[in-house]
Subunit: 371 residues, 4 copies
């Protein structure tokens, strides 16, 4: 990972600001010969699109993706395929409404990167947070759709990534009720339909109160074979932690037992092993529990890979907060505009995308080193 | 970060296995002209050395570091200084006792990387965990001592990194009693002297029970100026998360409010700002709270940088656990040997080292891009 | 350098195919606060634009650049400035005439990458060479214009890069007549006005003969301070060699004395030193010759940096050449289309761009490590 | 490539100074399960060892390599094999004779990096050139031996790398007499036995004259399959150019026709293709010539890969040369010590090593991206 690029063999570089003419990404290192249509990317993008429910920003962005390079209508395979060269994806910014943001030019919004960008660069694109806006994550979701194709190709469809919001504010799902197939049925990507129902009123109230809510997202990758990852800084968990922490507003990342591992004893935490189902997987052991979250020594074990991350409550709220101006004068700010009352909601597809990109990269790296 | 290297301008590559002839690291990109003696590194190494109390492994390793390159006795400055070329540090493995480990050659230890290394590479150095052993972290601590020198030089001694164990098993410190200056006074690097006292009996008991305990480590960097970090994958928090998650046995990483951010409302989570103390820092704002942990949009804000990470309980325990052999036979294993009953203890100096390396790297990168 | 990215702190990733919708690049790591207008980039692009003389391809491409990100109209500095975030530049392909190329879909053109792309990727965008087309170099020239701004800023305008064609086919310039200021006065970027005059008829004849001509380009950077570069693989000459060799059709790169260094004796090759002009440069020595081409041990010496590279004759010629089809049938090919009779001509601005990018990157890296 | 590391999947980081305690390298990313003994590396090292003939430095260095990590005595394969973890190789410096160099502490030697290191870093290890000494290339040769094992494994022994000195000073070999199998029979690694005989007296005379001689080295890789390399900065020729230019004293690099390509016409330069030998290689075409040197569009074509590089004459000569001191006083210097009269000789095994490392890296990268 370096500044605006992540990945090593499957490398994604994103570019663009919230209110510039466009945002996008360049994917370098994608395997050739994979069928890839704009629709495949578009359908992923549509999952994080603004304006899909009243619980996300009402900014009207069609988020239409264009593939500018790296794909060619191959006459032999009868369709658009990746050529192995860089894939540039572009999404034009349509509904920019710059004037909404003009009054924040001179005030630092608490919880935003206004002050720190200015401290670092001496200049900032204040319109909608510029580069620090969560709008950048649209590019990640687009790249994630390509990564998902890589996983499909490499593992013949065996890898499946599920994600959902498992906590909103202090309200957690009931893990007994988790049904990943239901996440698309509610506006929260919540895998517990009962909780999802309850959260509607809670989030409505938070918004009425001029506030916002934090959230916890869980991402699970099923079907990942053992052997992906590498010691000691290229560990799969290391790079998943980086991938998730790089998402806007994320303040913590857990693998498997996560922070709770601190509270456990060695006896309780052990994931014991039994002989696997030989029919399927020769000598692959069967684990009796998954405290490890599917990763041991930085390398996948063949169990489900389980990652959770915490998203702080949206910093843009209607309740006035104390702040200062660029010239150091004390003042207050109320952040108007079209903001998500719980940014965690739209972080769900982003978490999927980051998981897909990280796994695709590691799968290619593994193939490179180990064949 | 890539496989065995981390950092971008201050790059650390570690090498070596637990029971090979030696371990060490190569530091590339270190600024020239910095005084650097073996003693400066040795004193850091001594903080994570085995055998310093009954709560850490009794393996007898002097951990004497040799500087093999990159430092020269400059006749003008009158002492050993860095030359800007790669610094290779080597620590010989002395007390290897390979025979202790011969019986684990054929069994996968639960919680260890035995199975996953074998799944990935088809071969593994089973002696003491080979490359996956926490012994590798000695190299990190050595590199961290060099990084600390870089910070001293760049920030004239203003950056101070504190760390300690703030939770052992379910037992947390009382945050009212935290005194960072006391961490060296007890075998746990615990900043709460009362808790430290209580933990002794608790950990003794866990060991007698053939078990082990998890831990939570907190690392705080004080005096870091605003402006370090970069969007959007080179974020300071992204790379700190990676740095900490790469430490053996770590299962979760938090910045500031961390996982608890999910439970907060936007009103409560806002770090409001007031005008700073002009005498000191011109227009630098003063924050009224630090939920953000000193990082906004991936860039340091000038507040304390606060990172916590959870270390799982030592997997090597004396209670028999079910497992399988390399050939898939079901069996049990008791991991004898000289193991830390709470690996979190020795993770404290490693956390300091990773913080120092990450900050040094970002400080150089910032200077490179922004002058 | 890695696949489609070059540079380390000033990183340029290019994307796009000859006949796709657009080409472009993403520049990451650019210093903030630098004035940057589309015109600054456009004027560089215009120097390599197709159709400027009868000696370059007649493809009609306006090569209009759009800045999609990384620049903001700063109200304080009164104009567009870099913000330190990724700069995405896009050039739409207008005059694609895909049908010109449809007959080469099934035949491998000698000297082109048709066969090797197919061997590597199993698929290729055959239209105009796809990714392997020299059209990609427009993106480099655009990036080079930004790099030139970086050099201006860092060295206050002291660094000046000159380049020209010093040989066409077997015909070399007379080095006594070299006048760098005259390169813009002829269609060859030739610094010897007499040679330029003679080359017109020679190149006309080559084209009439259904052939093409090779060329030698010389790039000279004046005013580079001592100290840029780094041992041992990040050497300035190493990275300049890579930069130039990466340009389409380049088959050799020389620094200073170049290949001729093999023929020299140690006595003749020594660049002796005398005391410098103290008024200007304190202790900086004055060199009595420049066999080294301004680089010693991979680090700039303060002398002119002199690089030459050989460009092979255009492979697309009207004389039939033997080849095979994708299915292995023997055949002949005549490469019609709008081709440069001497691709070396348009390599001149590309050489300048690669020099600028390499120097800008090294200047930032030097500032990062050494302050 | 970045500073002291080269390669992307097969990454080599070298460290160490000419007169420090040791030199060495860390190889990260090596495939696991490859048999690797110290003897395999030692036999490569012995080819560039000092003191093997009167034409190379008489410094007495046994150059004994130790493998410090990354290899394990696997009980199943019955021998030492790579484990996939970093391989650290160390060579102790034995015959350092630091006092020989003490008088050059204050004078800049023409043609050496003394002045530029000082200009960059403000400090330098003046003993034998420190980091800029060609002694560093021993580490490359050691790494190259490991890379050769990778190639053997990946291509089942089909790739063979030959190299030799094809020119010394102005004296070239007769290409009709080239016999690669004879290079080991003379002290010059010259493939023309007649020329080798003549060069003895010539080099003796140069040394008696207090001078030294330049050289041209040719490296040929046979049996490389088509498809290695990548557009547009990861080109195989780009990275070979970088690899060779990074060798001490190299001033120019050519692929295939090289600098001479500038003088050719398109008709003459075309490498025409005919149908291949179907028995062997299905549709792989047969080329009628190899002006391209085995690389088209940055990707191997299956032909021999042909690289040449020019090595300048040894800068350390007994004839006094004018120079200045660190404090700017004008003086003369005679470089005594034990120097190679033609450093090109020992550059031959280094060229082989760099070719092997570059090919191994590209082969792994290709496998990663394209399977």
């Amino acid at each position: 990972m370096s500044d605006n690029t992540f990945g090593k063999l499957f490398r994604v570089t994103t570019w663009g600001e919230s209110h510039g003419p466009a945002i996008g990404c360049v994917i370098d290192g994608c395997p050739p010969g994979m069928r890839l249509t704009p629709e495949m990317i578009q359908s992923a993008l549509d999952t994080r699109k603004p304006g899909t429910s009243k619980y996300v920003t009402q900014r009207k962005e069609p988020d239409e993706v264009r593939i500018l390079s790296g794909v060619f209508e191959d006459d032999r395979t009868g369709g658009p395929v990746t050529t192995g060269t860089p894939i540039c994806l572009m999404i034009e910014n349509v509904d920019q409404r710059s004037k909404d943001y003009s009054d924040i030019r001179d005030k630092y919004r608490p919880g935003h990167a206004d002050y720190t960008y200015e401290a670092k660069y001496g200049v900032r694109d204040y319109r909608g947070g510029g580069r620090s806006s969560a709008r950048e994550t649209a590019s990640r979701v687009a790249a994630g759709a390509v990564a998902a194709r890589v996983l499909d190709r490499l593992f013949d469809g065996a890898v499946k990534i599920r994600a959902g919001m498992v906590q909103m504010g202090p309200h957690k799902v009931d893990r007994q009720r988790i049904d990943w197939d239901s996440v698309g049925d509610n506006p929260f990507w919540c895998p517990d339909p009962v909780a999802a129902q309850e959260w509607e009123a809670i989030l409505d109230q938070a918004r009425k109160d001029g506030s916002s809510m934090g959230a916890m997202i869980e991402v699970v990758a099923q079907g990942v074979p053992p052997g992906l990852g590498a010691p000691v800084y290229g560990k799969l968990d290391t790079e998943l932690a980086a991938a998730m922490m790089s998402i806007n507003a994320v303040k913590g990342v857990e693998i498997g037992e996560g922070m709770n591992a601190a509270a456990l004893s060695g006896i309780d935490n052990a994931d014991e092993m039994r002989a696997g189902n030989r029919a399927d997987n020769a000598n692959r052991p069967r684990f009796l529990s998954n405290h490890a979250g599917g990763i041991l020594g930085g390398i996948s074990s063949g169990q489900d890979i389980v990652v959770r991350f915490a998203v702080k409550p949206t910093s843009s709220i209607l309740t006035p907060r104390q702040t200062v101006t660029r010239t150091g004068e004390e003042t207050e700010i109320v952040t108007k505009g079209r903001h998500d009352p719980c940014v965690g909601i739209r972080a769900v597809p982003v978490g999927i995308a980051m998981m897909a990109c990280t796994l695709a990269d590691h799968a290619l790296r593994h193939r490179g080193q180990c064949g």
